[in-house]
Protein backbone atom coordinates (compact mmCIF):
# COMPACT_ATOMS: atom_id res chain seq x y z
CA UNK A 1 0.00 0.00 0.00
CA UNK A 2 1.21 3.44 -0.85
CA UNK A 3 0.92 6.66 1.04
CA UNK A 4 -2.48 7.39 -0.46
CA UNK A 5 -3.52 3.93 0.68
CA UNK A 6 -4.14 2.90 -2.91
CA UNK A 7 -2.75 -0.35 -4.26
CA UNK A 8 0.06 0.12 -6.74
CA UNK A 9 -0.36 -0.61 -10.45
CA UNK A 10 2.35 -1.12 -13.06
CA UNK A 11 2.38 -1.80 -16.76
CA UNK A 12 5.46 -2.58 -18.81
CA UNK A 13 6.10 -2.78 -22.54
CA UNK A 14 8.77 -5.34 -23.52
CA UNK A 15 9.31 -6.81 -27.00
CA UNK A 16 6.01 -5.96 -28.61
CA UNK A 17 4.28 -3.45 -30.83
CA UNK A 18 2.62 -1.41 -28.08
CA UNK A 19 -0.85 -2.26 -29.22
CA UNK A 20 -1.50 -3.72 -25.77
CA UNK A 21 -0.84 -0.31 -24.22
CA UNK A 22 -3.32 1.27 -26.61
CA UNK A 23 -5.84 -1.45 -25.88
CA UNK A 24 -5.68 -0.58 -22.16
CA UNK A 25 -6.19 3.09 -22.91
CA UNK A 26 -9.07 2.01 -25.13
CA UNK A 27 -11.17 0.78 -22.26
CA UNK A 28 -12.82 4.20 -22.03
CA UNK A 29 -14.06 5.67 -18.73
CA UNK A 30 -13.01 2.47 -17.05
CA UNK A 31 -9.54 3.99 -17.14
CA UNK A 32 -10.79 6.48 -14.57
CA UNK A 33 -11.75 3.65 -12.22
CA UNK A 34 -8.23 2.34 -12.64
CA UNK A 35 -6.81 5.71 -11.79
CA UNK A 36 -9.23 6.05 -8.90
CA UNK A 37 -8.50 2.63 -7.52
CA UNK A 38 -4.79 2.42 -8.15
CA UNK A 39 -1.69 4.39 -7.54
CA UNK A 40 0.20 4.16 -10.86
CA UNK A 41 3.67 3.18 -9.70
CA UNK A 42 5.27 2.48 -13.07
CA UNK A 43 3.80 2.87 -16.53
CA UNK A 44 6.38 4.32 -18.93
CA UNK A 45 3.87 4.85 -21.73
CA UNK A 46 1.42 6.72 -19.57
CA UNK A 47 3.72 8.70 -17.28
CA UNK A 48 7.35 9.37 -16.53
CA UNK A 49 8.97 6.80 -14.29
CA UNK A 50 12.46 5.54 -13.52
CA UNK A 51 13.59 1.97 -13.11
CA UNK A 52 15.53 2.93 -10.01
CA UNK A 53 12.26 4.06 -8.37
CA UNK A 54 10.89 0.57 -8.93
CA UNK A 55 14.12 -0.97 -7.65
CA UNK A 56 13.74 1.20 -4.55
CA UNK A 57 10.31 -0.28 -3.77
CA UNK A 58 10.09 -3.11 -1.26
CA UNK A 59 9.41 -6.55 -2.78
CA UNK A 60 5.77 -7.19 -3.49
CA UNK A 61 4.98 -3.51 -3.18
CA UNK A 62 3.15 -3.46 -6.53
CA UNK A 63 -0.25 -5.13 -6.39
CA UNK A 64 -0.91 -5.57 -10.10
CA UNK A 65 1.52 -5.56 -13.03
CA UNK A 66 0.42 -5.95 -16.62
CA UNK A 67 3.47 -7.11 -18.57
CA UNK A 68 3.16 -6.99 -22.35
CA UNK A 69 5.71 -7.97 -24.97
CA UNK A 70 8.06 -10.91 -25.16
CA UNK A 71 11.58 -11.32 -23.77
CA UNK A 72 13.93 -10.53 -26.62
CA UNK A 73 16.85 -8.77 -24.94
CA UNK A 74 18.52 -8.69 -21.56
CA UNK A 75 16.70 -5.50 -20.58
CA UNK A 76 13.35 -7.25 -21.12
CA UNK A 77 14.57 -10.11 -18.97
CA UNK A 78 15.93 -7.79 -16.33
CA UNK A 79 12.65 -5.89 -16.11
CA UNK A 80 10.67 -9.13 -16.01
CA UNK A 81 12.64 -10.36 -13.02
CA UNK A 82 12.49 -6.98 -11.31
CA UNK A 83 8.74 -6.57 -11.74
CA UNK A 84 8.14 -10.17 -10.73
CA UNK A 85 9.92 -9.48 -7.48
CA UNK A 86 8.12 -6.22 -6.83
CA UNK A 87 4.62 -7.43 -7.82
CA UNK A 88 2.01 -9.51 -6.04
CA UNK A 89 0.10 -10.24 -9.26
CA UNK A 90 2.11 -10.47 -12.48
CA UNK A 91 -0.05 -10.77 -15.57
CA UNK A 92 1.29 -11.87 -18.97
CA UNK A 93 -0.68 -9.32 -20.90
CA UNK A 94 -1.35 -9.99 -24.57
CA UNK A 95 -0.12 -12.48 -27.06
CA UNK A 96 3.57 -11.47 -27.06
CA UNK A 97 4.03 -11.98 -23.33
CA UNK A 98 2.08 -15.23 -23.27
CA UNK A 99 2.63 -16.86 -26.69
CA UNK A 100 5.35 -14.91 -28.49
CA UNK A 101 3.01 -13.47 -31.09
CA UNK A 102 4.38 -11.97 -34.31
CA UNK A 103 7.77 -11.07 -32.75
CA UNK A 104 7.98 -14.77 -31.94
CA UNK A 105 8.00 -15.59 -35.67
CA UNK A 106 11.57 -14.27 -35.60
CA UNK A 107 12.38 -17.59 -33.94
CA UNK A 108 12.40 -19.09 -37.45
CA UNK A 109 15.66 -17.34 -38.26
CA UNK A 110 18.97 -16.67 -36.53
CA UNK A 111 19.85 -13.32 -35.03
CA UNK A 112 22.38 -12.48 -37.68
CA UNK A 113 20.01 -12.77 -40.60
CA UNK A 114 17.40 -10.83 -38.60
CA UNK A 115 19.78 -7.90 -38.11
CA UNK A 116 20.81 -8.24 -41.72
CA UNK A 117 17.18 -7.89 -42.82
CA UNK A 118 16.68 -4.86 -40.65
CA UNK A 119 19.92 -2.99 -41.32
CA UNK A 120 20.79 -4.12 -44.84
CA UNK A 121 17.34 -4.77 -46.24
CA UNK A 122 16.19 -3.35 -49.56
CA UNK A 123 14.33 -0.58 -47.75
CA UNK A 124 17.39 0.50 -45.81
CA UNK A 125 20.01 2.87 -47.15
CA UNK A 126 23.09 1.63 -45.31
CA UNK A 127 26.01 1.46 -47.77
CA UNK A 128 28.62 0.80 -45.06
CA UNK A 129 26.49 -1.99 -43.64
CA UNK A 130 26.69 -0.39 -40.19
CA UNK A 131 25.11 -2.25 -37.32
CA UNK A 132 24.52 -0.98 -33.79
CA UNK A 133 27.21 -1.97 -31.31
CA UNK A 134 26.17 -3.18 -27.86
CA UNK A 135 28.96 -1.07 -26.39
CA UNK A 136 30.42 2.11 -27.79
CA UNK A 137 32.91 4.61 -26.41
CA UNK A 138 31.43 8.12 -26.58
CA UNK A 139 33.09 11.27 -25.19
CA UNK A 140 30.57 11.04 -22.35
CA UNK A 141 31.80 7.55 -21.64
CA UNK A 142 30.74 4.03 -22.58
CA UNK A 143 27.28 3.81 -24.11
CA UNK A 144 25.56 0.46 -23.79
CA UNK A 145 22.36 -0.77 -25.40
CA UNK A 146 20.47 -3.94 -24.46
CA UNK A 147 21.86 -7.19 -25.86
CA UNK A 148 19.57 -9.11 -28.17
CA UNK A 149 18.87 -12.72 -27.19
CA UNK A 150 19.20 -15.31 -29.95
CA UNK A 151 15.49 -16.09 -29.68
CA UNK A 152 12.36 -14.60 -28.22
CA UNK A 153 11.03 -16.19 -25.03
CA UNK A 154 7.65 -15.71 -23.44
CA UNK A 155 7.31 -14.21 -19.97
CA UNK A 156 6.51 -17.52 -18.30
CA UNK A 157 9.81 -18.95 -19.57
CA UNK A 158 11.68 -16.35 -17.53
CA UNK A 159 9.61 -15.82 -14.39
CA UNK A 160 6.50 -17.26 -12.78
CA UNK A 161 3.31 -15.75 -14.10
CA UNK A 162 0.06 -15.51 -12.15
CA UNK A 163 -2.45 -14.81 -14.90
CA UNK A 164 -2.68 -14.52 -18.63
CA UNK A 165 -4.78 -12.11 -20.61
CA UNK A 166 -4.51 -13.31 -24.21
CA UNK A 167 -5.09 -11.46 -27.46
CA UNK A 168 -3.29 -9.29 -29.95
CA UNK A 169 -4.22 -7.06 -28.47
CA UNK A 170 -6.63 -8.17 -25.73
CA UNK A 171 -10.14 -6.93 -26.51
CA UNK A 172 -10.81 -3.75 -24.49
CA UNK A 173 -14.10 -5.03 -23.12
CA UNK A 174 -12.29 -8.09 -21.83
CA UNK A 175 -9.64 -5.93 -20.17
CA UNK A 176 -12.35 -3.90 -18.52
CA UNK A 177 -13.98 -7.06 -17.23
CA UNK A 178 -10.71 -8.29 -15.76
CA UNK A 179 -10.09 -4.97 -14.08
CA UNK A 180 -13.54 -5.19 -12.49
CA UNK A 181 -12.67 -8.64 -11.15
CA UNK A 182 -9.42 -7.43 -9.64
CA UNK A 183 -11.05 -4.40 -8.11
CA UNK A 184 -13.83 -6.53 -6.67
CA UNK A 185 -11.22 -8.87 -5.27
CA UNK A 186 -9.35 -5.96 -3.73
CA UNK A 187 -12.59 -4.86 -2.11
CA UNK A 188 -12.76 -8.37 -0.77
CA UNK A 189 -16.04 -8.90 -2.58
CA UNK A 190 -14.79 -11.97 -4.39
CA UNK A 191 -11.96 -14.49 -4.68
CA UNK A 192 -9.20 -14.00 -7.22
CA UNK A 193 -9.20 -16.73 -9.86
CA UNK A 194 -6.75 -19.62 -9.20
CA UNK A 195 -3.15 -18.87 -10.26
CA UNK A 196 -2.35 -19.79 -13.85
CA UNK A 197 -5.88 -18.91 -14.90
CA UNK A 198 -6.52 -17.31 -18.25
CA UNK A 199 -8.57 -14.16 -17.85
CA UNK A 200 -10.60 -12.16 -20.29
CA UNK A 201 -11.21 -14.96 -22.76
CA UNK A 202 -13.44 -17.91 -23.46
CA UNK A 203 -12.71 -21.59 -22.92
CA UNK A 204 -13.85 -23.07 -26.24
CA UNK A 205 -12.38 -22.33 -29.66
CA UNK A 206 -13.28 -19.41 -31.90
CA UNK A 207 -15.71 -21.55 -33.97
CA UNK A 208 -17.97 -21.44 -30.93
CA UNK A 209 -18.48 -17.70 -31.42
CA UNK A 210 -18.31 -17.86 -35.22
CA UNK A 211 -21.66 -17.40 -36.96
CA UNK A 212 -20.65 -19.11 -40.20
CA UNK A 213 -22.52 -22.31 -41.06
CA UNK A 214 -20.34 -25.41 -41.03
CA UNK A 215 -20.85 -28.85 -42.56
CA UNK A 216 -18.87 -32.05 -43.11
CA UNK A 217 -15.37 -31.16 -44.24
CA UNK A 218 -13.76 -32.79 -47.30
CA UNK A 219 -11.06 -30.57 -48.77
CA UNK A 220 -9.78 -31.06 -52.32
CA UNK A 221 -7.73 -27.88 -52.54
CA UNK A 222 -6.42 -25.11 -50.30
CA UNK A 223 -5.99 -21.56 -51.45
CA UNK A 224 -5.09 -18.20 -49.95
CA UNK A 225 -8.02 -15.90 -49.35
CA UNK A 226 -6.47 -13.17 -51.48
CA UNK A 227 -6.46 -15.54 -54.44
CA UNK A 228 -10.16 -16.24 -54.23
CA UNK A 229 -12.54 -14.64 -56.68
CA UNK A 230 -15.29 -14.51 -54.08
CA UNK A 231 -15.53 -15.76 -50.51
CA UNK A 232 -18.87 -17.14 -49.38
CA UNK A 233 -19.84 -14.76 -46.53
CA UNK A 234 -21.82 -17.36 -44.58
CA UNK A 235 -19.96 -20.67 -45.11
CA UNK A 236 -17.15 -21.96 -42.90
CA UNK A 237 -13.89 -20.71 -44.40
CA UNK A 238 -12.09 -24.04 -44.07
CA UNK A 239 -14.79 -25.64 -46.21
CA UNK A 240 -13.90 -23.02 -48.81
CA UNK A 241 -10.29 -24.20 -48.71
CA UNK A 242 -9.04 -21.27 -46.65
CA UNK A 243 -6.76 -21.95 -43.69
CA UNK A 244 -8.47 -20.68 -40.56
CA UNK A 245 -6.94 -21.10 -37.09
CA UNK A 246 -10.35 -20.70 -35.44
CA UNK A 247 -10.83 -24.37 -34.57
CA UNK A 248 -7.77 -24.42 -32.28
CA UNK A 249 -7.77 -20.81 -31.08
CA UNK A 250 -9.30 -19.59 -27.84
CA UNK A 251 -12.51 -17.65 -28.15
CA UNK A 252 -13.16 -14.31 -26.50
CA UNK A 253 -12.87 -12.01 -29.49
CA UNK A 254 -16.41 -12.67 -30.74
CA UNK A 255 -14.80 -14.26 -33.79
CA UNK A 256 -13.88 -10.82 -35.08
CA UNK A 257 -11.89 -11.91 -38.16
CA UNK A 258 -14.14 -14.68 -39.50
CA UNK A 259 -17.13 -12.41 -38.98
CA UNK A 260 -15.38 -9.67 -40.91
CA UNK A 261 -14.73 -12.17 -43.72
CA UNK A 262 -11.14 -13.06 -42.97
CA UNK A 263 -9.58 -16.21 -41.52
CA UNK A 264 -8.80 -16.42 -37.81
CA UNK A 265 -5.10 -15.77 -37.37
CA UNK A 266 -4.97 -17.34 -33.90
CA UNK A 267 -4.06 -14.36 -31.76
CA UNK A 268 -5.99 -15.53 -28.70
CA UNK A 269 -3.67 -18.49 -28.33
CA UNK A 270 -4.50 -22.14 -27.73
CA UNK A 271 -7.97 -23.03 -26.52
CA UNK A 272 -8.25 -24.90 -23.20
CA UNK A 273 -6.37 -28.21 -23.29
CA UNK A 274 -4.62 -27.50 -26.59
CA UNK A 275 -0.97 -28.45 -26.22
CA UNK A 276 0.45 -27.08 -29.45
CA UNK A 277 -1.68 -25.01 -31.81
CA UNK A 278 0.46 -25.89 -34.82
CA UNK A 279 0.19 -29.61 -34.17
CA UNK A 280 -3.54 -29.34 -33.59
CA UNK A 281 -4.15 -27.40 -36.79
CA UNK A 282 -1.89 -29.74 -38.75
CA UNK A 283 -3.75 -32.80 -37.52
CA UNK A 284 -7.11 -31.21 -38.14
CA UNK A 285 -6.38 -29.85 -41.61
CA UNK A 286 -4.60 -33.01 -42.79
CA UNK A 287 -7.49 -35.12 -41.52
CA UNK A 288 -10.05 -33.46 -43.75
CA UNK A 289 -8.02 -33.77 -46.96
CA UNK A 290 -10.20 -35.75 -49.32
CA UNK A 291 -7.71 -38.10 -50.96
CA UNK A 292 -5.89 -41.38 -50.35
CA UNK A 293 -3.24 -40.98 -53.01
CA UNK A 294 0.10 -39.63 -51.75
CA UNK A 295 0.73 -37.73 -54.98
CA UNK A 296 -2.68 -36.04 -54.90
CA UNK A 297 -2.40 -35.34 -51.17
CA UNK A 298 0.91 -33.62 -51.83
CA UNK A 299 -0.68 -31.61 -54.63
CA UNK A 300 -3.41 -30.51 -52.22
CA UNK A 301 -0.84 -29.67 -49.55
CA UNK A 302 1.02 -27.49 -52.04
CA UNK A 303 -1.94 -25.13 -51.61
CA UNK A 304 -0.78 -24.50 -48.04
CA UNK A 305 1.98 -21.95 -48.49
CA UNK A 306 4.23 -21.83 -45.41
CA UNK A 307 2.46 -24.33 -43.09
CA UNK A 308 4.61 -23.53 -40.05
CA UNK A 309 4.09 -19.80 -40.50
CA UNK A 310 0.33 -20.16 -40.82
CA UNK A 311 -0.25 -22.65 -38.02
CA UNK A 312 2.23 -21.08 -35.57
CA UNK A 313 1.61 -17.45 -36.47
CA UNK A 314 1.03 -16.40 -32.87
CA UNK A 315 2.54 -19.18 -30.78
CA UNK A 316 5.80 -20.36 -32.29
CA UNK A 317 7.79 -19.17 -29.26
CA UNK A 318 5.46 -21.13 -27.00
CA UNK A 319 5.11 -24.23 -29.17
CA UNK A 320 6.68 -27.58 -28.39
CA UNK A 321 9.71 -26.80 -30.54
CA UNK A 322 9.72 -23.09 -29.59
CA UNK A 323 12.15 -22.03 -32.30
CA UNK A 324 13.52 -23.32 -35.59
CA UNK A 325 16.90 -24.96 -35.46
CA UNK A 326 19.00 -22.16 -37.03
CA UNK A 327 17.86 -19.75 -34.34
CA UNK A 328 19.30 -21.68 -31.43
CA UNK A 329 22.11 -23.53 -33.17
CA UNK A 330 23.58 -20.24 -34.39
CA UNK A 331 23.51 -19.17 -30.73
CA UNK A 332 25.14 -22.40 -29.68
CA UNK A 333 28.05 -21.94 -32.06
CA UNK A 334 28.93 -18.60 -30.34
Amino acid sequence: MSANGKPKFAMYWAAGCGGCEIAVLNIGEKILDVDAAFDIAFWPVAMDAKVKDVQALPDGAITLTLFNGGIRNDENEHMARLLRRKSQILVAFGSCASEGCIPGLANFSDLDSLLDTVYNGVSTDNPDRIRPQYEYEAPEGTVRIPVMAPVLRTLDMVVDVDYIIPGCPPESHQIAAVIDVVLAALRGEMELPPPGAILGAGQKAVCDECERTRGIKKIKRFTRIQHMAAVDPTLCLIEQGILCNGPATRSGCHARCPTAGNACIGCYGPADGVVDVGARMMAAIASVIDSRDPAEINRILDGIVDPAGSFYRFNLAHSLLKAARPAWTAERSH
Binding site: E77, L82, P150, G278, I285
Partner: protein, 156 residues
Protein backbone atom coordinates in the same frame (compact mmCIF):
# COMPACT_ATOMS: atom_id res chain seq x y z
CA UNK B 1 30.34 -37.40 -37.12
CA UNK B 2 31.65 -39.33 -34.15
CA UNK B 3 30.92 -43.01 -34.51
CA UNK B 4 30.12 -43.16 -30.79
CA UNK B 5 26.80 -41.44 -31.33
CA UNK B 6 23.83 -43.65 -30.47
CA UNK B 7 20.58 -42.06 -31.61
CA UNK B 8 17.35 -42.44 -29.68
CA UNK B 9 14.29 -43.05 -31.84
CA UNK B 10 10.71 -43.08 -30.65
CA UNK B 11 8.46 -45.42 -32.59
CA UNK B 12 4.67 -45.23 -32.68
CA UNK B 13 3.01 -48.54 -33.46
CA UNK B 14 -0.48 -49.72 -34.32
CA UNK B 15 -1.90 -52.23 -31.86
CA UNK B 16 -3.08 -54.49 -34.70
CA UNK B 17 -0.18 -54.60 -37.13
CA UNK B 18 3.17 -52.99 -36.38
CA UNK B 19 3.07 -53.60 -32.60
CA UNK B 20 2.32 -57.25 -33.34
CA UNK B 21 5.05 -57.21 -35.97
CA UNK B 22 7.43 -56.03 -33.24
CA UNK B 23 6.19 -58.84 -30.99
CA UNK B 24 6.70 -61.27 -33.88
CA UNK B 25 10.24 -60.02 -34.42
CA UNK B 26 10.74 -60.83 -30.75
CA UNK B 27 9.33 -64.33 -30.85
CA UNK B 28 11.36 -64.97 -34.01
CA UNK B 29 14.45 -63.59 -32.21
CA UNK B 30 15.11 -61.18 -35.08
CA UNK B 31 17.80 -58.73 -33.98
CA UNK B 32 17.67 -54.96 -34.40
CA UNK B 33 19.41 -52.02 -32.70
CA UNK B 34 18.18 -51.04 -29.21
CA UNK B 35 18.02 -47.38 -30.23
CA UNK B 36 14.29 -47.51 -30.84
CA UNK B 37 11.66 -47.34 -28.12
CA UNK B 38 8.12 -48.20 -29.11
CA UNK B 39 4.84 -46.72 -27.99
CA UNK B 40 1.61 -48.59 -28.65
CA UNK B 41 -1.44 -46.80 -30.05
CA UNK B 42 -4.69 -48.49 -31.07
CA UNK B 43 -4.23 -47.26 -34.63
CA UNK B 44 -1.78 -45.11 -36.52
CA UNK B 45 -4.80 -42.82 -36.92
CA UNK B 46 -4.35 -41.94 -33.24
CA UNK B 47 -0.97 -40.44 -34.10
CA UNK B 48 -1.14 -36.80 -33.10
CA UNK B 49 1.59 -34.66 -34.71
CA UNK B 50 2.07 -33.22 -31.22
CA UNK B 51 3.45 -36.62 -30.15
CA UNK B 52 6.14 -36.38 -32.80
CA UNK B 53 7.04 -32.77 -31.99
CA UNK B 54 7.02 -33.62 -28.29
CA UNK B 55 9.45 -36.50 -28.83
CA UNK B 56 11.80 -34.35 -30.92
CA UNK B 57 11.60 -31.50 -28.41
CA UNK B 58 12.32 -33.84 -25.50
CA UNK B 59 15.53 -35.20 -26.98
CA UNK B 60 14.65 -37.90 -29.52
CA UNK B 61 16.84 -37.90 -32.63
CA UNK B 62 14.14 -39.39 -34.83
CA UNK B 63 10.58 -40.65 -34.87
CA UNK B 64 9.21 -43.66 -36.71
CA UNK B 65 5.50 -43.79 -37.38
CA UNK B 66 4.19 -47.23 -38.28
CA UNK B 67 0.81 -48.56 -39.34
CA UNK B 68 -1.06 -51.14 -41.37
CA UNK B 69 -0.51 -51.20 -45.11
CA UNK B 70 -2.86 -48.95 -47.07
CA UNK B 71 -6.14 -50.78 -47.58
CA UNK B 72 -5.48 -53.08 -44.64
CA UNK B 73 -6.21 -50.76 -41.73
CA UNK B 74 -8.02 -52.62 -38.97
CA UNK B 75 -10.22 -49.56 -38.65
CA UNK B 76 -10.83 -49.68 -42.42
CA UNK B 77 -9.31 -46.42 -43.66
CA UNK B 78 -7.77 -44.51 -40.77
CA UNK B 79 -4.18 -45.04 -41.87
CA UNK B 80 -4.90 -42.80 -44.87
CA UNK B 81 -5.43 -39.96 -42.36
CA UNK B 82 -2.06 -40.83 -40.91
CA UNK B 83 -0.59 -40.60 -44.38
CA UNK B 84 -1.81 -37.05 -45.01
CA UNK B 85 -0.85 -35.93 -41.51
CA UNK B 86 2.61 -37.38 -42.06
CA UNK B 87 3.01 -35.67 -45.43
CA UNK B 88 2.04 -32.31 -43.91
CA UNK B 89 4.17 -32.90 -40.80
CA UNK B 90 7.27 -33.54 -42.91
CA UNK B 91 6.84 -30.16 -44.57
CA UNK B 92 6.47 -28.38 -41.23
CA UNK B 93 9.36 -30.22 -39.65
CA UNK B 94 11.58 -29.19 -42.56
CA UNK B 95 10.60 -25.55 -41.98
CA UNK B 96 11.74 -25.97 -38.38
CA UNK B 97 15.19 -26.77 -39.70
CA UNK B 98 14.92 -30.50 -39.00
CA UNK B 99 15.94 -33.00 -41.67
CA UNK B 100 12.65 -34.60 -42.83
CA UNK B 101 14.42 -37.99 -42.75
CA UNK B 102 14.21 -37.80 -38.98
CA UNK B 103 10.48 -38.49 -39.24
CA UNK B 104 9.64 -41.65 -41.13
CA UNK B 105 6.44 -43.49 -42.01
CA UNK B 106 6.62 -47.28 -42.33
CA UNK B 107 3.83 -49.70 -43.19
CA UNK B 108 4.18 -53.09 -41.51
CA UNK B 109 1.58 -55.84 -41.22
CA UNK B 110 1.39 -58.10 -38.18
CA UNK B 111 3.28 -60.69 -40.22
CA UNK B 112 6.20 -58.45 -41.17
CA UNK B 113 8.45 -58.76 -38.14
CA UNK B 114 11.57 -59.05 -40.24
CA UNK B 115 10.52 -56.18 -42.48
CA UNK B 116 9.94 -53.94 -39.45
CA UNK B 117 13.29 -54.92 -37.92
CA UNK B 118 15.02 -54.10 -41.24
CA UNK B 119 13.29 -50.72 -41.42
CA UNK B 120 14.33 -49.97 -37.83
CA UNK B 121 17.92 -50.95 -38.52
CA UNK B 122 17.98 -48.83 -41.66
CA UNK B 123 16.52 -45.82 -39.89
CA UNK B 124 18.98 -46.08 -36.99
CA UNK B 125 21.80 -46.03 -39.52
CA UNK B 126 20.31 -43.05 -41.36
CA UNK B 127 19.86 -41.09 -38.13
CA UNK B 128 23.31 -42.04 -36.92
CA UNK B 129 24.62 -40.55 -40.17
CA UNK B 130 22.61 -37.37 -39.60
CA UNK B 131 24.02 -36.97 -36.10
CA UNK B 132 22.32 -35.83 -32.88
CA UNK B 133 19.31 -33.52 -32.96
CA UNK B 134 19.70 -32.48 -29.32
CA UNK B 135 16.77 -30.10 -29.23
CA UNK B 136 17.25 -27.69 -26.27
CA UNK B 137 14.94 -28.21 -23.29
CA UNK B 138 15.02 -24.48 -22.59
CA UNK B 139 15.69 -21.65 -25.00
CA UNK B 140 19.05 -19.86 -24.82
CA UNK B 141 19.46 -16.46 -23.09
CA UNK B 142 21.62 -13.53 -24.21
CA UNK B 143 25.30 -14.49 -24.28
CA UNK B 144 26.90 -11.33 -22.98
CA UNK B 145 25.24 -9.15 -20.38
CA UNK B 146 26.81 -5.68 -19.97
CA UNK B 147 27.59 -4.88 -16.29
CA UNK B 148 25.27 -1.89 -16.23
CA UNK B 149 22.22 -4.06 -16.66
CA UNK B 150 23.09 -7.13 -14.63
CA UNK B 151 19.89 -7.68 -12.65
CA UNK B 152 20.23 -8.14 -8.91
CA UNK B 153 19.83 -11.88 -8.48
CA UNK B 154 16.34 -12.81 -7.42
CA UNK B 155 15.29 -15.76 -5.31
CA UNK B 156 12.74 -17.12 -7.83
Amino acid sequence: MSDTFEPVIIGFTCNWCSYRAADLAGTARVKYPPNIRLIRLMCSGRLDPAFVLKALAEGADGVMITGCHPGECHYLVQNYRTLSRYLLLRRLVAQMGIEPERVKLVWASAAEGVHLAREITRMVEEIRALGPLDWPRRLPRPTTVPPALVPEEVPA
